[in-house]
Symmetry: C2
Subunit: 247 residues, 2 copies
């Protein structure tokens, strides 16, 4: 049995604990949460956190360093779950690593762990092996990703997910302004997302920008009342034309 302690019981901490529950190989021995009542597996003082085969810190980025330095032990394998922090953010009194599930977690949406890429990193090869074993219990997609790569991946994810969602939001507003239900766009959104699983996004590019269809572009710019939306339209149109279709 591999023992795991989880520090932080927010969205990700809860999803991780629930996923490990289902594994015969892994036992969550302790969960730390500042706001929890100390009872059963739960503790609410860092001083009460015990060693385990692995300690996973699933707290917000700016709390990682402080909480890792408060842990009352040394030479313990500790990972954080942040996309943007290097493993150097963890106190060096312990053996450091990263366990980064690349997915957006929402409270009320079920999570299919088997399909979530888990990016792992560790200072020691033996620790990396253990992380590989644990990550493989959750997911079939485990990647070795160093701190620099992880940071780049997090940046790429901001474009592919956070910014993309914001564009959905603008589309939704335009629909609402014209008494159109946003659901009309959902099949298009789904197809656009699933297309890039087979086709390089540059090759999959369609629309007035890549066609250099100035008539439609100008008519769209005229139709946009919101200055901010207009800037986004102009900048992304230029950017598409700049990159072009690499045929």
């Amino acid at each position: 049995m591999i023992t795991v302690g989880i520090i932080g019981y927010g969205n990700l901490g809860q999803h991780l604990a629930a996923a490990f529950e289902k594994s015969d190989l892994i036992e969550v021995t302790q969960i730390y949460s500042k706001s929890a009542t100390a009872s059963g597996k739960f503790v609410n003082e860092t001083a009460d956190v015990n060693k385990a085969d692995l300690i996973i810190i699933a707290v917000s980025d700016n709390a990682i360093s402080e909480i890792s330095s408060q842990l009352p032990f040394e030479n313990q394998l500790i990972v954080h779950t942040s996309g943007s922090m290097p493993i150097a953010a963890l106190d060096q009194k312990n053996r450091r690593g990263s366990f980064y599930p690349l997915q957006t977690f929402s409270k009320n949406r079920p999570v299919n762990w088997n399909n979530i890429p888990i990016c792992i990193e560790a200072e020691l090869d033996s620790d990396l092996e253990l992380l590989q074993k644990i990550a493989s219990e959750l997911s079939s997609k485990v990647y070795n990703v160093n701190s620099d790569q992880r940071k780049a991946l997090h940046l790429a994810a901001v474009f592919a997910s956070n910014f993309t969602n914001h564009l959905y939001g603008i589309a939704s507003k335009i629909c609402a302004e014209h008494n159109l239900p946003f659901e009309i766009l959902l099949p298009l959104i789904a197809e656009t997302a699933s297309k890039v699983a087979q086709l390089d996004p540059t090759m999959a590019q369609t629309g007035p920008a890549i066609r250099n269809d100035d008539k439609t572009i100008n008519s769209h710019l005229l139709a946009l009342n919101d200055e901010n939306q207009k800037h986004i339209y102009e900048l992304l149109t230029k950017s598409i034309q700049l990159n072009g279709k690499k045929l």
Copy 2:
């Protein structure tokens, strides 16, 4: 049997013809394509196009007006398939309408018509009824959308699909620059797209911008070498913060 003639045999024309083939209610009686050999159903002269219950013009936006004026008949129900053109783009000698399937069509990807929203419009109620009947043979999602709404929908689709795909492209480049396979991002892209089927995009917004996480934002901006990508990052971050989370 409802008879349909198709003008234009590009991506959409081919997908439409194949879909109507499967219907017991609809018969494609003629297909016009400039580059086709005149044989069987195919004609390559507009003068040879015959009347039918419905003529569908599936050509590029800037060819719609000219080809509609070349058709050798009057008082015939004619629709175009363009998202951005009003039905007034069609020659007024015929009864005009629109038949706009809101999806991105690629040559080598199968199309599930039942899931594609079809937006219809016609000048006459009886024509609208026929379009409703025909569209319902292909899809369970048929919407009455007037020319102004259709133009807004097309604009919204540019944000939700064309621009979104471009952001996937930027993410893909960032991955390549750091020797990371783009496939790592695919589950995140899929979840981001499917989330907005249940959750308003504004409520679904996550990431450093909406958290006002200046540390991560600045570190991302420093990591971006490409000036164009930097501009996009800044503008979309500001735009997310401007709209905020409407809690």
